[in-house]
């Protein structure tokens, strides 16, 4: 009897984890500034142009990673919430496991955390409020955090802070990103901070840390700086 249960257990374990063929997609996010890779794991990043910008912190949430073929949704990652941090290389690498034979030509994800999750209390893992991406004076996730210094910013120590978030209308900042892909196993997603920072006049706009019109505008801008082909 015991042996039967044991065997059954083993077989079901084997069937569920090993035997079933799977599609593995390695989604590698690469923060860049124009053509230069932005790495923050060993210190700040000095922008290689005359902008006088240094980047110190760059972290953002992506959620609801999905794949499509001919605009048709094929698969969505379950419990899909990822905190990506340019200072933690491992966090930029997402390993997605989907059913075998999933052939896709497009991936999508949301930049940020959805409104339902924003009102769901204390959550764990990447969504733990201790990860530095949750506001304290008011509830809600910071979807996008970019901090550094810029010669143009007339602030204390020339600092700029973009904490972009806000989940409820009319200031919702969740931003969908849709990208064409041609590779089924390895996809590099570049995030070009040059495009983001270049669209901002850092002399006048250097501290956005609350939900509102400005955060909505910058979230939309952030959604346009992802691309798969350099």
């Amino acid at each position: 009897m015991v042996r039967v249960i044991f065997c059954l257990g083993f077989v079901s374990f084997w069937v569920s984890t090993i035997a079933q063929p799977k599609n593995n997609l390695l989604l590698q996010f690469v923060p860049v500034y124009a053509r230069e890779v932005v790495r923050l794991d060993s210190g700040i990043f000095i922008c290689p142009d005359s902008s006088g910008i240094q980047i110190e912190t760059f972290r953002f949430y992506i959620s609801r990673v999905s794949v499509y073929k001919n605009e048709k949704l094929l698969w969505t990652e379950p419990m899909s919430f990822h905190l990506l941090d340019a200072a933690i290389p491992a966090s930029l690498k997402l390993s997605l496991v989907m059913p075998a034979g999933t052939s896709f030509d497009q991936i999508s994800f949301n930049l940020g955390v959805d409104s339902f999750t924003n009102v769901s209390g204390a959550l764990g893992g990447d969504l733990d409020p201790s990860r530095g991406m949750y506001w304290t004076w008011q509830s809600g996730y910071i979807n996008w955090k970019l901090e550094g210094t810029a010669a143009a910013a007339p602030t204390r120590n020339h600092e700029f802070h973009f904490h972009i978030g806000g989940y409820s209308a009319p200031f919702a900042t969740l931003t969908p990103v849709i990208l064409k892909v041609d590779n089924q196993q390895n996809v590099n997603v570049f995030v070009d901070l040059h495009r983001f920072l270049n669209g901002i006049d850092l002399k006048t706009e250097n501290n956005i840390m609350i939900p509102g019109h400005n955060a909505v505008r910058l979230a939309k801008k952030a959604g346009t700086i992802f691309y798969t082909n350099p």
């Binding site: 039967v4 249960i5 009102v119 209390g121 959550l123 764990g124 733990d128 201790s130 004076w137 509830s139």
Partner: protein, 347 residues
């Protein structure tokens, strides 16, 4: 065959649960009360988690310099608020901009803080922990400190089976303790529940009907609040310039709106209003009869003056005092957990 497997799994689960030594606790909804807003399925209460939350509530370890705990401003004997202090206090003698609210019946509240800045009970403690004029700390530094404490190691093991401290665990445990703070045993409740030998006096009875006529649309029974927001006609204090809910919604219609507080235990929760401007209940009643400042967001119920005679005011006050719940104010389950802090494990 299948049946045996299910029984076996059940048995193993039971053994694992009893090994942990934790007991689940059922949340009791008082008779006639609405269903709680808090989703207990996401944070099932247990004795060990409630105890952990209670320890955290009373422990100044949450603050930057270990001087301020939740209870510094939320004292049980005064309905979990800070009597005699108009504005909340924090580390290094700093003073905040708002009056600490009385804290009870939180399972029925959807939004927290005077302006509704906080959308869930679990994340409420983040605000005072991080506010520079309150605890001036941060969740990750609290986690760092708790991880080095043998007292909390024990508490986390009995609550969660291991000693790992996470933000989620910490916040959910504080929620579990705060959710136990249910006040539903005042004289008013006893009259409503027809407890033998308990009845309103004539004065209280008159006060109750005045209350229903003039106050109940915002301070609705049985919670004595609708938990929504209103402009109750207070003049702006120009030393604070606090416009309430508009800070969160950025909507003009929310200018000067503040959360409607419960009136339960109102006898003990002085001073009153978001800035603690009124020391006595009489002052509050006088505000509603003769102090209302007209404003375009003023609550419609207050547009026409409330007329109360001197006798009416006495009656109304007498009714408000029936909302005092001594069992709540002196419930030993809510008090400082001596057993944890007076004989702490070796640090």
């Amino acid at each position: 065959m299948k049946k045996y497997v299910i029984v076996l799994i059940g048995l193993l689960w039971y053994m694992a649960a009893s090994l942990k030594g934790d007991t689940t606790v059922r949340f009791h909804v008082p008779a006639g009360w609405p269903a709680p807003v808090y989703d207990f399925t996401k944070n099932p209460p247990s004795a060990a988690k409630i105890l952990l939350g209670r320890a955290l509530f009373y422990d100044p370890v949450l603050s930057a310099d270990s001087t301020i705990s939740c209870t510094s401003c939320h004292l049980q004997y005064t309905a979990f608020t800070h009597v005699d202090h108009t504005l909340s206090h924090g580390i290094k003698g700093s003073i905040g901009t708002r009056n600490a609210p009385a804290t009870m019946n939180l399972a029925w509240s959807k939004l927290f803080m005077w302006d509704g800045a906080v959308n869930h009970l679990d994340v409420q403690p983040l605000a005072p922990i991080a506010h520079p004029a309150e605890m001036g700390s941060s969740l990750d530094s609290v986690i760092f400190r708790l991880q080095r404490s043998t007292t909390y190691k024990k508490l986390f093991i009995s609550a969660f089976g291991d000693s790992i401290v996470t933000g989620e665990r910490l916040l959910k445990s504080i929620s579990q303790f705060m959710l136990t703070l249910v006040s539903a045993n005042s004289k008013y409740d006893q009259v409503k529940n027809k407890v033998p030998g308990v009845a309103f006096s004539l004065v209280e009875e008159k006060g109750y009907s005045l209350f229903r006529e003039h106050c109940a649309s915002c301070h609705t029974e049985p919670l004595f609040t609708t938990n929504s927001f209103a402009n109750n006609g207070l003049a702006v204090d120009t030393t604070l310039n606090d416009y309430g809910r508009i800070r969160i919604t950025h909507a003009a219609k929310d200018s000067l709106l503040f959360k409607i507080p419960t009136l339960r235990n109102v006898e003990y929760s002085y001073p009153y209003m978001h800035d603690g401007r009124f020391k006595r209940l009489q002052d509050v009643i006088n505000h509603y009869t003769s102090g209302i400042v007209q404003h375009k967001t003023l609550s419609p119920e207050l547009m026409r003056p409330i007329v109360l005679s001197a006798d009416d005011k006495v009656d109304l006050l007498a009714f408000l005092l029936t909302l005092t719940d001594k069992k709540f104010l002196f419930n030993p389950d809510y008090s400082f957990p001596k057993e944890i802090f007076l004989n702490p494990a070796k640090e």
